[in-house]
């Protein structure tokens, strides 16, 4: 991912998902179809859990999580997963392949893949965890809110560590669903561009291990959560809920906006989100704060967006690679000087990651390179 960010290589491609693909672009993870789960996990097999497995076994995460499980005890590591649609793709497939008598095809007669906790239960089984296990499903804020929930569990001593993350995979529900709302772009999404035409849907999985102590960062310094109280599928026009979430994260970390070096914006490339978020950033942050949307690389990965963008934020803190806004050509006039098109290199000590979702659920996470603000 770091190389793709550096080189401005997008993961978006023309939609080739399903039998009658809509004319749009998608962030499809290559090779999921060929993933074979270990035999012991066969009962959870489906596209979403294969993607979860791909992510779990990347970058040494499985080993790190296993070490934590053995060190703290399997019941002392909480598991908090985020997803929007979990493995609904398996249910869609069953309905496409119903037997003449209306029964599910035999290979899909597995209750667990037809319920939203499919993801949490799969990761529990995969990692052998025996503590708190829960799946958060608040649409596009899901895998940001998992950080806040896990932090609370650790703060109260209900867990010594936590595996958090999120996985969402492409399926008919989201492709045709977002299409029905006229939010899908016919071209690769262009966040914050004045001529943006909507979102590109993507799929992704990611994980993070939260511990109280460690050799180095990044550190979770603050979480802010709020509701818009406005509309099911449209943001508050003044970004009130988003502002409350950002203020909550800053207050939690005892920081002011001028301390923030980088913001990974929600920036879906929908008309409304980008306009509202751009105005909010322009009003709240000084000109020196850098901000961007990375959805031109990944597409909008919905319930996985929180973890994907948290990880991109970690890269910024660790390496100083501040991604720009891929695919944007000319910024919307609502954008302040914070929002950048091109990648930059900068010292990033404190960074925010914004995730705002359907149903007006907002979450902003504040990460730091060092533990103390």
């Amino acid at each position: 991912m770091a190389a793709a960010l550096r080189e401005g290589r997008s993961g978006l491609r023309p939609n080739d998902f399903g039998e009658s693909p809509l004319p749009t672009w998608i962030g499809r993870v290559p090779g999921i179809e060929a993933v074979a789960l270990p035999d012991r996990l066969a009962a959870w097999d489906c596209r979403n859990n294969r993607l979860a497995w791909l992510a779990l076994t990347s970058d040494g995460f499985f080993e790190r999580a296993s070490v934590a499980r053995d060190r703290y005890g399997a019941d002392r590591v909480a598991l908090v997963m985020g997803t929007s649609t979990s493995s609904i793709g398996a249910t869609e497939e069953a309905y496409r392949r119903l037997l003449p008598d209306g029964q599910y095809p035999e290979d899909l007669r597995r209750a667990i893949v037809h319920t939203p906790h499919s993801l949490g239960d799969f990761v529990r089984a995969a990692l052998g965890l025996e503590g708190v296990v829960v799946t958060v499903a608040t649409a596009c804020s899901s895998s940001a809110k998992v950080f806040a929930q896990a932090e609370r569990l650790m703060r109260l001593g209900l867990a010594d560590a936590a595996v958090v993350g999120g996985v969402d995979s492409l399926c008919g529900s989201v492709l045709f669903g977002f299409n029905s709302l006229e939010l899908v772009s016919p071209e690769p999404c262009r966040p914050f561009d004045r001529a943006r035409r909507g979102i590109s849907l993507g799929e992704a999985g990611g994980f993070a291990l939260l511990e109280r102590d460690g050799d180095g960062g990044p550190w979770l310094l603050g979480c802010g959560e709020s509701s818009d109280a406005h509309h099911m599928s449209s943001p508050h026009p003044e970004g009130l809920g988003a502002r409350l979430a950002i203020q909550g994260a800053l207050a939690c970390a005892a920081l002011t906006p001028d301390a923030i070096d980088y913001i990974n914006l929600h920036g879906t490339a929908s008309q409304k989100n980008d306009e509202v978020e751009a105005r909010l950033v322009a009003a709240m942050f000084p000109a020196r704060t850098l901000a961007s949307s990375t959805k031109g690389w990944t597409g909008h990965t919905l319930g996985a967006a929180g973890i994907v963008e948290a990880v991109i934020t970690f890269l910024a803190l660790e390496t100083g690679l501040v991604p720009g806004t891929l695919n944007a050509q000319e910024l919307d006039p609502a954008c302040g000087p914070q929002i950048r098109i091109r990648n930059e290199s900068a010292e990033v000590r404190f960074a925010l990651s914004n995730s705002f979702g359907f149903g007006g659920s907002n979450c902003s996470l504040l990460f730091g390179k060092a533990r103390q603000a």
């Binding site: 029964q103 939203p116 529900s173 669903g177 818009d228 009130l240 149903g359």
Partner: protein, 273 residues
């Protein structure tokens, strides 16, 4: 494992033959019998007339329980963070989406699509009450009630304030019902807080516990929620109705439980306030 304390300051319950806590509590105590006829689905009065008619069952049941729990606690809904716990979400919409996608995917209804998200009820609740406080929406399959209650207790403790839990599941439809069956409509809610108030129903001292023997509801009460995916909520509400000191154990995951020592300091008839 340390023990934390919370107070149950508000309660709500809804099942077809136990429509409301005032009816449910004496039945769960064995004092009265339940109405024979199931009640019609509750009307989500928080919504405008059009939205009220179109509201999916999950929204109707969740909004009813959320409103009654706040009322019972004397709490302003705007002030409370909330946890919406549902095992399967809106099973009827999942059936509709899967069925439509299999035949005519481009005809998906945009309203049904945005109502299909697991947090739809939470979204309508915060919109209807004008609440900017955070909500969450979660699931943990058979342990959804336990995880929802744990999150409510955790948020109440961390935020040092009253927190709303709404737990609900509805009837499964179509072929999906053969995989994840759920019957009827059940909703249950509490307002929990680290602070007692004059009309607190109960005190709960709680902890997580490895293993743990999960509390089972009385057979005569279990029938009211039988087959519903949220049936696991019943033992906790049975204990609240009974108003006698009791330890209730609910599941959090296959190997972990939430153990709650429930007592009723000074309470006589907590449901008859």
């Amino acid at each position: 494992m340390s023990t934390l304390t919370a107070f149950v300051n508000g309660v709500a319950f809804w099942a077809p033959r136990l429509p409301g806590w005032q009816i449910a509590a004496p039945v769960l105590r064995g004092e009265t019998s339940a109405p024979v006829q199931p009640a019609p689905r509750p009307a989500p009065t928080l919504l405008g007339p059009t939205e009220r008619r179109r509201a999916p069952d999950t929204v109707a049941i969740a909004l009813e329980v959320a409103a009654r729990a706040c009322e019972s606690a004397g709490a302003d809904p705007k002030e409370l963070p909330s946890i919406f716990a549902s095992t399967h979400g809106d099973l009827a919409i999942s059936d509709y989406m899967s069925e439509t996608l299999a035949r005519t995917p481009t005809l998906i209804s945009p309203i049904r699509f945005h109502n299909s998200v697991h947090n739809a009820a939470a979204g309508y609740w915060t919109i209807g009450t004008g609440c900017y406080q955070p909500y969450t929406a979660l699931t943990a399959f058979g342990d959804t009630f336990g995880e929802g209650l744990l999150e409510a207790l955790t948020q109440a403790a961390c935020g040092d304030r009253a927190t709303l839990l709404v737990a609900y599941d509805i009837e499964a439809r179509g072929p999906l019902a053969t995989m994840v069956p759920s019957r009827g409509m059940v909703g249950a809610g509490v307002v929990v807080s680290p602070h007692a108030q004059a009309n607190s129903l109960a005190r709960v001292r709680w902890r997580t516990k490895r293993g743990g023997q999960r509390t089972v509801a009385l057979d005569c009460n279990a029938e009211f929620v039988a087959g519903n995916a949220m049936a696991a909520c019943l033992p906790f509400f049975e204990a609240l109705a009974r108003a006698e000191r009791q330890t209730v154990c609910v599941g959090l995951s296959p190997a972990l439980s939430l153990e709650l020592d429930i007592d009723f300091p000074g309470a006589e008839h907590p449901d008859e306030r």
